[in-house]
């Protein structure tokens, strides 16, 4: 299945693809953690992730055409 990924706020430079937004083919019943692994985001840092506009976690399972947005874990303003 295909999912859509957005890397917010300059995060793309920490991925192997270096793209702000991309579509990714993943096996059925993949979760967000699998996507993070494909992108090769450094595992030392926690990420804030939304799935179709709601907060989601690494273990959240994906459905076709899901939209995932990954943010750096911001501390505040």
């Amino acid at each position: 299945m295909e999912v859509e990924i957005t890397l917010a706020l300059g995060l793309e430079k920490y991925t192997s693809q270096n793209k702000h937004s991309l579509r990714l083919e993943v096996p059925p019943s993949s979760n967000i953690g699998d996507v993070v692994a494909i992108l090769a985001l450094p595992s030392t840092e926690p990420w804030l992730i939304t799935l179709n506009g709601r907060q989601a976690f690494l273990e959240t399972e994906l459905s076709p055409e899901d939209s995932i947005k990954i943010f750096p874990m911001l501390a505040g303003g």
């Binding site: 706020l9 506009g53 907060q55 947005k69 943010f71 750096p72 874990m73 911001l74 505040g76």
Partner: protein, 564 residues
């Protein structure tokens, strides 16, 4: 030698002394908490003669440690009636620290008809007549002071709102460019400074040097590591490009972006007021990104937001202002938000408190959501000192009471910041239980890896963050550095050891923060606060935030456990 300066406004005597033994080893927020508990009657009138206004750099103030020059200002809050410490960036903390001061304590009240500036140099301090500055906006007053005393000075200054003793007033501090827009904004400390009729503190550190570290080679090595952690941090990388406004789209996605007086948690115009949009506008108009508010800051989260002609409107434009004066007012135009920010800065007002007050006013029907022109007209009313203007400048609590609004986005009388407590519940716990009142800087939790809409674990999370944040506030370090240093607190302890020549470890850091909070909670208890003051207002506990479809439902028992 660490020094303390006591300034008596009643008879204009100034006494310089060694820092008393019981205050040694304390700085910034910790020193303020201890001094207020020791020295002022907790039940005193905040605007009366018994209250004291304290300026305290952190323990590392005046050193070469990166971003360690924050200035803490404190006193009994005219807004909350409780203890207050509010800290800001710029150069005031650095210069006071370089001059060797741990604290400047302003006591008693000026006789009627007079007003003063406090000038501090290497040769001591003096009170100067301020009648030519009284009544001026913050920008004009600072420009005149810099004209008279030179561009090397740092200034802490109030505007007309502080002079009128309005509880939404803060204290402005100058940055590396001499621009007075680094605010100790919260808690109405501008009103406290106004009650003393102290227009400004002018600091000229000519002839002074950085405080030398006890172990210079070690500190140099530790600073390299500090830089490396900053350089590697994706969070700080994002702040450099997008400023703290990075938070807009993230918080919008979490359903925590205050929208139309906290009616919703996401805003249809969020992209138009986002950090990404701000970045593009600043680049196109040739403003400044990655601006440093303190000399030598490696994070550089600040910016100069300019108009279409490239002229500065305001510096910096920050997340909390964008949330409270943008989405919270239904305004989706960064230029309009920047202009409102400028007005607040010039009048000497906290943008969070004022934005929240305007949100209440808009919901009441006084003006419409999205009416930026109407909001600016109200800012003009504040400048003129009309009753309508004063109501807004008293903050969200007073405004809601005057207008008969049941929905009050406040705790302990202080407005909530840019996080809806129903959507980011850990920050809701901080709003409820912090001795400071609703204050994100006392323990913001969006960074935690937790389901933010669940009530589970939020009290423990908030407790942990509330106990960590004073590390930065006590040392004078910038909270933004926490994004890089938070995972390396051993490095922070080593920096303290190398700078001060004492043997400090992570446990010592937490012992200090534990005391800070204990003293603050105790001050509030003596001032009459009970656990019933540690609650989120009824509206947020009964009406769900439609974006996340949940109310604030952390139990009273959990809230009462935070400082137990």
């Amino acid at each position: 030698m660490k020094k303390i300066l006591r300034v008596n406004m009643a008879n204009q005597t100034i006494i310089e002394d060694r820092l008393p033994e019981e205050y040694l080893g304390l700085g910034g927020r910790a020193l303020i908490a201890r001094m207020l508990l020791n020295e002022i009657p907790p039940a005193c009138e905040p605007l009366g003669r018994h209250n004291k206004l304290i300026f305290a750099p952190g323990l590392l103030g005046g050193s070469k440690v990166f971003s360690s020059g924050r200035i803490s200002i404190g006193g009994k809050s005219p807004l909350t009636g409780g203890i207050k410490e509010s800290n800001g960036g710029g150069t005031v903390g650095l210069k006071l620290g370089r001059l060797g001061y741990s604290a400047v304590v302003v006591e008693e009240l000026t006789p009627p008809g007079k007003s003063f500036c406090l000038k501090i140099t290497q040769n001591g301090a003096e009170l100067l007549d301020a009648s030519e500055y009284w009544g001026l906006g913050v920008y004009d007053a600072t420009a005149k002071l810099r004209e008279r005393f030179g561009k090397q000075i740092a200034v802490s200054c109030i505007g007309p709102a502080g002079e009128m003793r309005l509880t939404g007033a803060g204290v402005a501090n100058t940055d590396t460019d001499g621009v007075p827009s680094r605010y100790c904004g919260r808690g109405g400390l501008g009103a406290l400074m106004g009650s003393k009729r102290l227009k400004a503190v002018v600091i000229d550190d000519t002839g002074s040097k950085f405080i030398e570290p006890a172990k210079p080679d070690e500190l140099t090595m530790l600073m390299k590591l500090y830089s490396q952690y900053v350089e590697e941090s994706p969070v700080i990388n994002s702040y450099k490009s997008y400023g703290t406004a990075s938070m807009v789209m993230l918080n919008n996605a979490l359903g925590g972006l205050p929208t139309r007086n906290f009616s919703e948690g996401s805003f249809e115009g969020a992209e138009k007021i986002s950090g990404e949009k701000m970045h593009d506008i600043i680049v196109a108009r040739k403003g400044k990104l990655a601006h440093a508010c303190m000399p030598g800051c490696p994070m550089r989260c600040s910016n100069v937001y300019v108009d279409e002609q490239g002229e500065p409107i305001v510096a910096p434009l920050e997340y909390e202002t964008i949330a409270l004066m943008g989405s919270n007012l239904g305004i989706d135009d960064l230029d309009a938000i920047a202009r409102l920010n400028y007005w607040c800065n010039d009048l000497g007002l906290d943008t969070i408190e004022t934005g929240a007050a305007l949100g209440v006013a808009m919901e009441s029907g006084w003006l419409s959501f999205g009416d930026a022109e109407g909001a600016i007209k109200l800012m003009e009313e504040i400048g003129k000192g009309t009753i309508a203007g004063r109501v807004i400048a008293m903050g969200a609590d007073t405004t809601s009471k005057v207008l008969g609004m049941v929905k009050r986005p406040v705790v302990k009388g202080q407005a909530m910041a840019g996080y809806d407590p129903r959507s980011i519940k850990g920050t809701g716990v901080t709003y409820a239980t912090s001795p400071m009142g609703a204050d994100h800087t006392a323990g913001a939790t969006p960074r935690a890896n937790i389901k933010h809409t669940s009530p589970e674990g939020q009290a423990d999370l908030s407790k942990k963050v509330q106990n960590t944040i004073p590390i930065y506030d006590d040392l004078g370090l910038c909270m933004v550095a926490g994004a890089a240093l938070g995972a390396h607190l051993d490095l922070v302890a080593q920096i303290v050891s190398a700078q001060l020549g004492i043997n400090y470890n992570v446990d010592d850091l937490f012992e200090m923060t534990g005391k800070t909070l204990k003293w603050e909670v105790e001050f509030n208890r003596r001032a009459g606060f009970t656990n019933l003051d540690d609650r989120i207002p009824e509206y947020f506990c009964e009406v769900p935030c439609p974006t996340v479809n949940t109310v604030f439902d952390v139990s009273d028992q959990d809230l009462d456990g935070v400082h137990a």
